[in-house]
Chain length 319, copies 2
């Protein structure tokens, strides 16, 4: 059963009287009267991170993943709580020192503060991270308008290549290998872009599960379709090299998730201000498609102007 | 290593600039300027609950345990988030239906609403519950005053007997057995007492880990000692029967934890109003000792006026 179906079937009614929960259909909770935004996420060894061989990198990545949930909604994160469950080996003094150092670096980078949480003994390693921010408003899901342009920040796919290298499924020279592994472990978040986003985005989400998976989630309650131009989906110079050398196809790596870029839609009229803002902030921005009428099916168009389908639209949690 | 030492050693410095985190030495986080109180707790199968044979009861208990963290500080809970990690068996349709029903009942009982969370696949079952409430002020830890009386609501020990029955270490008739098992699974929270508490308690905590363990946590940064009179520690009529029949000694069961009663200290001058308030609300209240000068050692005094020590002061998370 999909996570969405599961939530809908058993838990939606429990949030009936609580509009702040956004029908449990958003990544975050927002109490407009209190201006409070909250994101809660659980990360499990073997599911959300491969292993704990590099605790410093794992901690940074899962914290960024949680922060990303707020950032993509126009909210600056302020506090975080981390609940860790693990065994003596995972939480050895050596590892705890690394975890603490990583958290300290992330705190400085994103101006956030540890505010609590707990540590419990478990044979299976997992973390639940709660991130809190205050904002007068947020960008909701399911608010795309017909003919909106679809934008994405940064590049897609680098993180997936990093994962393939770590899993020894792709072999590259050291320099390239390090570049992609770094993309996997240390996604760059566009925190300086957050507040600007509020002024032009109609709807937004971060790419954690995959471009198409997340785009479909973004508009899952709307009667609209999308058209995405594969050619316009941004990839890094290094990934372009791999694609040119036929080591990998573009369509197989741009919707695998873990990118933590911001996907949003905005009206055509905002195009100028969006590009100007991104230029001044040094944020790469790409228009990759548009929101279309529900009368046509959603489409992905390749470089030869042919409709294609992706084998893997991204990651859906299943039970 | 104790959880406290671990937090102190590696994580305290991360909350340095954030007074709201209460030095990570409280059960909750409180942002005074935003009037926001938050509690985050993780519950793991085998550690915090025996197994998932009764999902309906387990869910109620862990939610109450989380709510209790706010209630004992004078905060009325408003929303909760639940993140569940488990396998297909734990999250079968049958179990999800039971979980949903339990949550629905608890929502009505405590006027709280599900606001989000997530579900992830894991071989090991665990839940992290975040509870949020708003309050102008809270009751802090480490604020006991010299000569304060020490009070406790309700009865202690019933939950522990319930656990012993479930573990088949004690055998009782059906009626008694059901009474104690119910105490274990469904702790009664004094939510109507919460706001009153703010007007007379100097410092407070809920009894989750054990009377003495929690009392010591309550004043762990203060230069004070305590004197507890075992005779005055409240137990139920049913537990009294077991003690009279020598099935169990009082001292072996009153500091085992899982009671979710409120332990607080208050000045002598408030004694009248405390008893009057509790009478009118139907909350059993017992004065069980006092806060003493640091020049004497903390003491537990038995019915023969002899100093005793408890073998087990309660539960401390260890790694």
């Amino acid at each position: 059963m999909h996570e969405f179906e599961l939530i809908k079937k058993f838990f939606l009614k429990l949030s009936n009287f609580n509009k702040n929960a956004l029908d449990l259909n958003d990544d975050i909770f927002f109490d407009k009267s209190k201006k409070l935004a909250i994101s809660v996420d659980t990360y499990i060894e073997g599911t959300h991170f491969i292993n704990f061989d590099y605790p410093d990198l794992v901690i940074k990545k899962i914290l960024r993943s949680s922060i990303s949930d707020l950032i993509c909604k126009g909210v600056i994160p302020k506090y975080y709580f981390i609940s860790g469950s693990g065994d003596k080996k995972s939480f050895s003094a050596k590892n705890l020192k690394k975890i603490s150092k990583s958290l300290s670096q992330e705190q400085k980078k994103y101006s956030i503060y540890l505010s609590g949480g707990d540590t419990t003994y478990s044979k299976k390693l997992s973390f639940t991270i709660t991130v809190i921010g205050y904002s007068n408003k947020i960008i909701y899901r399911n608010n795309a308008k017909l003919n909106d342009d679809i934008y994405i920040t940064g590049n897609l796919g680098d993180s997936f290549i990093g994962l393939m290298i770590l899993k020894k499924k792709i072999n590259l020279n050291n320099k390239l290998s390090n570049y992609f592994k770094k993309s996997f472990f240390s996604p760059k978040l566009h925190i300086n872009f957050t507040k600007k986003l509020l002024s032009f985005a109609n709807t937004s989400i971060d790419i954690s599960d995959g471009l198409i998976a997340d785009l479909e989630k973004l508009i899952n309650k709307q009667k609209v379709s999308y058209k995405i131009y594969l050619n316009d989906v941004p990839v890094s110079k290094n990934l372009k090299k791999l694609i040119s050398s036929k080591k990998i196809s573009k369509k197989s790596c741009i919707s695998q998730g873990d990118d933590y870029q911001i996907l949003f839609t905005a009206p055509k009229s905002k195009s100028g201000i969006i590009h100007k803002t991104c230029n001044s902030l040094g944020v790469k921005i790409s228009k990759i498609g548009k929101i279309c009428s529900p009368s046509q099916k959603s489409q992905i168009i390749n470089e030869k102007n042919i409709k294609i389908t992706l084998k893997n639209k991204g990651y859906f949690h299943r039970f």
